[in-house]
Symmetry: C2
Subunit: 144 residues, 2 copies
């Protein structure tokens, strides 16, 4: 006897969120991958530093909710690309403050434009009100 359920994946929020996240992320990926050989985590770290200014790796972990090993790897990758600089804090030598180099800032500026263009294009099909509603919803879901 084959038991039939009425459960549909297309109503299951985690599934829908993943599909939507995947679709948009894949589409946006080339923006940083092709030109700068960056990985998603690197992009995120760059954006946190670009937006919030200098901060420590730990702060990035907390704000962006990325595991410290991922951040650690992204930081050294960005350092190798000379987009970011570390500076050990004399008052607590465990901390190192991270900040973008000049070239990091200019890459950030370019990528910001790409991101804004992408987001605008993505949202053309929605009203401004819908878009804001969505953002509010996602922020609540993600408990950001």
């Amino acid at each position: 006897m084959t038991k039939t359920t009425n459960f549909d994946l297309r109503g299951f929020m985690p599934y829908l969120l993943n599909q939507a996240a995947d679709a948009t992320s894949r589409e946006f990926e080339p923006s940083y991958k092709v030109r700068y050989g960056m990985l998603r985590t690197e992009w995120r770290v760059l954006f946190h530093l670009g937006h919030y200014g200098r901060m420590t790796a730990k702060e990035i972990c907390d704000r962006a909710r990325i595991h410290k090993t991922k951040v650690s790897r992204a930081v050294s990758a960005l350092e190798h690309k000379r987009l970011l600089r570390r500076k050990e804090q004399p008052e607590d030598r465990r901390h190192e403050t991270l900040s973008l180099t000049t070239s990091g800032q200019s890459v950030f500026a370019t990528l910001v434009e790409d991101a804004q263009r992408f987001d605008a294009a993505l949202m053309t099909e929605f009203t401004e009100q819908e878009a804001n509603q969505m953002r509010a919803f996602l922020i609540r879901i993600a408990k950001l």
Copy 2:
């Protein structure tokens, strides 16, 4: 001179979608991981078979938008767990139809309950109307 931009990640849709998707998926993961040692892709394959009945790996790839190698691996994992059965089609021996075993069906039934419970809990903070709006939005974004 530190150039300040007004770009905020918290308004960038791909970022928000990923944060929300990650948050919910991580929370839901134990449901299939702890008890059945399943991976996310395995869960998805199981759910496609559970919901749509017997189908081929290719169909799962297309519907669920999962790469064929991932599906291939998930299928053999589920097969090893005796949750799924393959059957070669005589009219075209390249195809193999997949279907859940009895035990696969009962695992599916249990997991459906978990999923429904999880989704209900997740959505308590939202009105039914909001939830539906969200789903509609995500389906459009994901072009499902």
